[in-house]
Amino acid sequence: MTTLTLTAPSPHLAFLLRLADDNLILGHRLSEWTGHAPMLEEDIALANIALDHIGAARSLYDRAAELHGEGLTEDDYAYRRDARGYLNCLLVERPNGDFAHTIVRQLLYSAFALPYWAVLTASTDATIAAIAAKSEKEARYHVRHSGDWFLRLGDGTDESRTRTEAALAALWPYTGELFEVDATLEPLIAEGVAADPRSVHAVWQQTIDQALAATGLTVPEVPFMQTGGRTGYHTEHLGFILADLQFMQRAYPGATW
């Protein structure tokens, strides 16, 4: 099983992979909590959210494979690409950290995903539109779950507040990338296949502002935003995620499981 390298994928394919990779990597991260969460209810809830993300990723990879031709499957994308070929945003690959990091990461991402899926329900790619309709419902729960916890942690004890503040400061630099538009996205937005992420920035900001206002926390002062995931320029964490994720396919190439 050789490494799958996509040289100059079409914008449509690249867009599907970006969205799919966001969901796979975030789902993978959340699944790391299983058995280790602060309470049994959260083992179950985080696994639920992870399953939603992994499910969305699988549908998107399926669509990518269909477009791609060449008889590829969802697993080829997940298990055969190296870090440089992964196109997820950096936010989702950040480590779970403490529970506050996980919750803040989820809120920052899901507050974006919810309105973005909503716009994508009008995608001219009917498969994307259908996936978006399903995912929008799921994202509503993800925002509620992470938003409720954000409130409890931000307005709970001194310790939980300090931890939440630290998580916000650590993760905020990765939010800018969510709204970037590049040469891959531009033609797709024009065609109506993709949605313009900038169009949901105000809604995202409002969700975050409401969560912050309820806790009295503020937007952290961040001098620089980080970027690179959409072109395969990742943080060092992705390599370790892939070492885990792809172990079996690399150790037993070509086998069916």
Binding site: S31, E32, H36, A37, L40, I54, R152, S160, M248, W257
Partner: protein, 330 residues
């Protein structure tokens, strides 16, 4: 924060000669369900709390060896299935802790007993999951053995436990089929995959057989539990059912049971196994299995690392309640 208040906790400790005891036994004999607020002898309550708590602990400790492979599952389909399976086990733990709480013991107390090593859980989870094949093997053998144990519990005399079991058994039998299907896939795959399956069976067969507990003669709790209709079959009866169901399944996909003494008795129609290594069983139960220390340490870490989260949730709930009552007063 998980305790449920019940109105029958200060019962007399000694129920001997209590006329309620005779009525209780009559209800048991008539196959009636006992509910949390009904009279029950202290021994019955203690037996149930111990058994349900051990069962709940087994579910959540069982999440660890399987959770070990979630991030490394070999395909997205298997990854999602495994994650959903381990999530189910968490759900089982949750119903069972709730069932035990109806008998007056809080979840926190049970969790504390688990992490400080006082509580027991199924010996099987003290073995390591070394390869991906172990995930299928656990589904097939461990969930399979759990079903044998649990189906009769759906008719257990204690209502909340019996009801929890009905729901749990449905999921366990799905897990068992899914596990067997995974092993079938390995057996139909490359020689390397087949070898993974055989190696895994070699390691998990005897520990699965031991899951049914000591032989009838050596089981301390059996007789009383049978009289109370908590238990319906003896350990050895259930073990035999499991062996009879599982040996042909192994043969069908070309796997060899790691027991040179295994033979089919034409007269009885049962598979007969060789000697069980009860020393190993005792050692693992007493804490000397390959993973006992790691399992308890993982639960302890989750408990300790999560303390500030639980504290925050509690503090927030209290603040909110205080704010609401202020608003009402104003």
């Amino acid at each position: 924060m998980y305790t449920q208040a019940l109105n029958n906790l200060d019962l007399p400790q000694n129920d001997e000669g209590d006329p309620r005891e005779a009525r209780f036994m009559a209800r048991i004999d008539a196959e009636e369900r006992i509910e949390p607020n009904d009279f029950m002898p202290e021994g019955y309550r203690k037996t149930l709390v111990r058994q349900i708590a051990q069962h709940a602990h087994s579910e959540i400790i069982g999440m660890l060896p399987e959770g070990n492979w979630i991030t490394r599952a070999p395909s997205l389909r298997r990854k999602a299935a495994l994650l959903a399976k381990v999530q189910d086990e968490g759900g089982h733990g949750l119903y069972l802790y709730c069932a035990a709480e109806t008998l007056g013991k809080s979840r926190e107390e049970m969790m504390d007993e688990l992490v400080d090593g006082r509580a027991k859980y199924s010996s099987i989870f003290n073995y390591p999951t070394l390869t991906w094949a172990d995930i299928g093997m656990i589904g097939w053998l461990v969930d399979g053995a759990a079903i044998m144990n649990q189906i009769p519990l759906c008719r257990c005399s204690f209502g909340p436990y019996a009801r929890a079991m009905i729901r749990i058994c449905k999921e366990e039998s799905f897990h068992q089929r899914q596990g067997y299907e995974q092993i079938m896939t390995l057996c139909a795959g490359t020689p390397e995959q087949k070898e993974l399956a055989q190696d895994s069976l070699n390691r998990w067969w005897w520990p699965s057989i031991m899951m049914f507990g000591p032989s009838d003669g050596d089981s301390v709790h059996s007789a009383k539990s049978m009289a109370w209709k908590i238990k319906r079959f003896t350990n050895d009866e259930l073990r035999q059912k499991f062996i009879d169901a599982t040996v042909p399944q192994a043969h069908r996909i070309g796997l060899e049971i790691p027991d040179p003494d295994l033979k089919f008795n034409e007269e009885t129609g049962h598979w007969e196994i060789g000697e069980i290594d009860w020393e190993e069983f005792k050692r693992v139960l007493a804490g000397g299995g390959p993973c006992n220390a790691d399992r308890v340490a993982a639960r302890k870490a989750a408990q300790e690392n999560g303390a500030w989260v639980r504290d925050a949730a509690l503090a927030y709930a209290q603040k909110r309640a205080a704010r609401e009552s202020e608003t009402l007063a104003a």
